[in-house]
Symmetry: C2
Subunit: 491 residues, 2 copies
């Protein structure tokens, strides 16, 4: 481990950037805006994928794979969709390189120009609905419940590791239904799946709700989102689920015959989460010593570090430690025993703290004598001496306790940083000086939302599903409003 991390209080943004790199999660690549996800970071993403994939399959979905490239003309078929994505597309125009005989350099072969340019998918609605056209004739072909794990590209100008990158990994569900009701129920089901995953796996409480028109997905009739609050008081959109109505079915002419042979357009949803969730995980829990990982997503849940002088002591500790390791693994706990002699215990302690390993066990010669162990938990940094007897059950419970504790901590933080504002002055003061979520009345117009955004950088994150009806006045226009919406500055 090199120099210490910048402290969150000093510079939260720099703390995040340093942490991602130092904890071996990801780094910037030679390609502008594209990241390298390093093995340790990727192993967390794999755990996220496995948990989500199971949730998708348990709700009846199957995986499939659609092309990376989308013909340019497909984009134009759904008007608002192309508006939303045209400005940030990577475009393939040629299919060959050649050696330039004059300069002896590799150049793009001008003779190999594509007739129609191909867009590297920023999302796959268009290519998928063009495919579904051939899959759907009758109500018997519905519903189609398909998910894709894939890379997508959006040419973002300002990028940050995991939070906003030109290329990112994600999953995108694309479903087709016979009725509007069924499609809406699917849209709701998937935002609930995402909320469940965010809260019970990442340990981050989220607020579910509708997006306002301004923030809706390009081509959707309704976008549901989950919003999480980060430690710097900014919101992070962690997942979205879109009710697409019949927009894409109309754009790609996808009709089905119902039981009576009557033709109608198919109803659609799409929903996705991405490697951005890694950003949520990192920012929600970590501290000035490094990463704090939720045990359910930690690649290493327990690390055992021997403290010894000489080979004889090490041999005796090895024997005992390997036995504890096997016993823990038999309970399904992932354990690393780090007895490398190239690094000192203090270095290892700092390293595993930086990497967020939930539980550290230290074992020295005195522990051998006393049948004890030193147990340190990453979330609170507390240490205690425990008997080796029954240690497996103790650790098993401890991991559950840590998972719960970091969630409760994040929930407490969110409660303390969620405010109501009844005037625009109050609103601006909170946004500027405190940060966090602000519940305020809004007149429902895109214009007001835009003005508030221009003046304060805060946007409506969601109109919460559980927002209580109450009479109020828009903080900006003073017009009547029926419920509060959730504002924040956002990532």
């Amino acid at each position: 481990m090199a120099e210490k991390l910048t402290k969150r209080q000093e510079n939260y943004s720099q703390w995040y950037n340093e942490l991602v790199v130092k904890a071996d999660l990801a780094e910037n690549s030679a390609v502008r805006g594209s990241m390298v996800i390093k093995p340790y970071g990727y192993s967390i993403w794999e755990k996220m994928q496995a948990a989500l994939d199971k949730m998708f399959k348990d709700t009846g979905h199957s995986n499939a794979y659609f092309p990376l490239f989308i013909p340019k003309s497909f984009f134009s078929k759904e008007a608002s969709h192309v508006d939303g994505f045209a400005k940030e597309c990577a475009v393939v125009t040629h299919y060959r390189l050649k050696n330039d005989e004059v300069t002896n350099k590799i150049i793009v072969d001008p003779a190999a120009k594509l007739e129609e340019e191909l867009i590297v998918r920023p999302t796959s609605e268009t290519i998928i609905w063009n495919t579904y056209k051939n899959w759907i004739q009758s109500y018997r072909d519905l519903p189609i419940l398909v998910n894709q794990w894939a890379n997508v590209v959006r040419w973002e100008m300002r990028t940050r590791l995991f939070l906003r990158t030109a290329e990112f990994l994600w999953q995108e569900g694309h479903t087709a239904h016979a009725t509007k009701e069924e499609a809406i129920a699917e849209t709701e089901q998937m935002i609930n799946v995402y909320a469940d995953f965010a809260e019970n796996w990442i340990g981050v409480p989220v607020i579910k709700g509708y997006k306002s028109e301004n923030e809706r997905f390009a081509g959707a009739l309704d976008t549901f989102a989950i919003e999480a609050l980060m430690q710097d008081g900014k919101a992070l959109q962690a997942g979205t689920s879109h009710f697409l109505g019949q927009n894409f079915a109309k754009a790609f002419d996808v009709k089905f015959a119902d039981k009576n042979g009557k033709l109608d357009y198919v109803w659609a949803t799409s929903w996705g989460v991405s490697t951005r969730l890694m950003g949520a995980l990192i920012m929600a829990h970590s501290d000035d010593n490094g990463l704090v990982l939720p045990p359910k997503l930690a690649p290493i849940q327990v690390v055992i570090v021997p403290i010894y002088k000489g080979q004889d002591q090490l041999d005796r500790i090895n024997e005992k430690a390997n036995q504890i390791k096997s016993n823990l693994e038999a309970k399904g706990i992932s354990v690393k025993y780090d007895n490398r002699d190239t690094y000192k215990p203090g270095w290892k302690f700092a390293e595993y703290e930086l990497k967020g390993v939930p539980v550290r066990i230290a074992m020295g010669p005195r522990d051998l004598e006393n049948n004890t162990l030193e147990i340190a938990r990453r979330d609170t940094l507390e240490k205690e001496i425990k008997s080796q007897d029954g240690i497996e059950s103790y650790i098993d419970e401890l991991l559950k306790d840590i998972q719960n504790n970091i969630y409760q901590k994040a929930l407490k933080f969110r409660k303390e940083n969620t405010h109501k504002a009844d005037t625009y002055e109050e609103f601006k003061d909170i946004i500027e000086n405190k940060g966090g979520f602000v519940l305020a009345h809004w007149d429902g117009t895109p214009e007001t939302e835009q003005r508030i955004k221009d003046e304060t950088k805060a946007t409506i994150r969601v109109i919460p599903f559980d927002s209580i009806e109450e009479d109020g006045k828009c903080i900006y226009s003073g017009k009547p409003s029926k419920k509060r919406v959730l504002f924040a500055k956002a990532y």
Copy 2:
């Protein structure tokens, strides 16, 4: 299920193309050369991925993710590498679309031209070695044992579903080592892993060996490959493992300090298998009725079809069938009970035959009375009546038997279709009239190999690892040769 498949004898190529589509494995997309992998096909690929991923992790590898795009200049750094891939590259030249105000059509924004073009990765050696440069300083940083699951693009002109597509899915391992010996051992280990997977999971026997210079990977000092024989007598390269020497370390200036502080270039390997394995699986075992899946990779291992008249009979069969399903699932067997009333049993039988489900259980009213079941195995199409008692163990064994049987069948086929040729006339006769593998002497020169290829379309698939030393004469040039090499026409 629609019309019957073309028979293999009539037109093998058409049989394959129809089978891939009709069995819901994949289909062509609107993007030239890119396929859609349908849910059923993708679920087989997922099973392949899971098995391979475990084998990679068991041999010490971790997954990571590197950028999709590679700066054009990176390609030029390793001379033979760029020669190998330049002719088939998708090139990104722009990063924005816009609305053309004159035509009101979406066009590529000429103002958004990239300074340096980006290549959609055809393989990732260059971007990865550019990254490893920052990861490697000393021997303590080695070995690096990393794998990536990703999509790659090679702009093939003639494409076929799974066998050769412009975009395909694969894994690419990229390892870095302190010594030549260690890198060679890794290269060997991974070709053995691939052979193990091909034989014990896909059920396809393979021949392991070295590639000749002509067929070597662009940038490798040595390429090891596994070659399988398809039912039409053509070979299919199913996996490759490359010893890259210090070529990429030199191209990207990646050095490490050994224990004495002496600097040297790092040694490299790379290895990969792709969705092409799906082609091997399909072609090796399937018949004129459809797919024949190895049980270990079958998404549905057992299908249960009820045969009934009226709801009362169905109710009684449902109860029993669901019980058998649970019992089988408790043994880790995947079971589908298809009691849809929208399709007749005969339709279902044909459908699951087409989809290659290894075991079909039919259950009618007489089976209820007699405590029996009709069991049909897909590989031999044999049917038998069995008692319901102990059926779970019987099916469990039957699946193992089918897995073994299709392997033995493929092995027998390969033996019957592997010939020795001692003269060029003999060689040409076999290649032209019988097909299959031909073991023949070769003088070791690229020129001779090229002439044989030009005249017969047959290439050297591998120089088998287990080729026995014997004195012979090259079938083409008559020059002396020490061992036979394996020729065939290939996919």
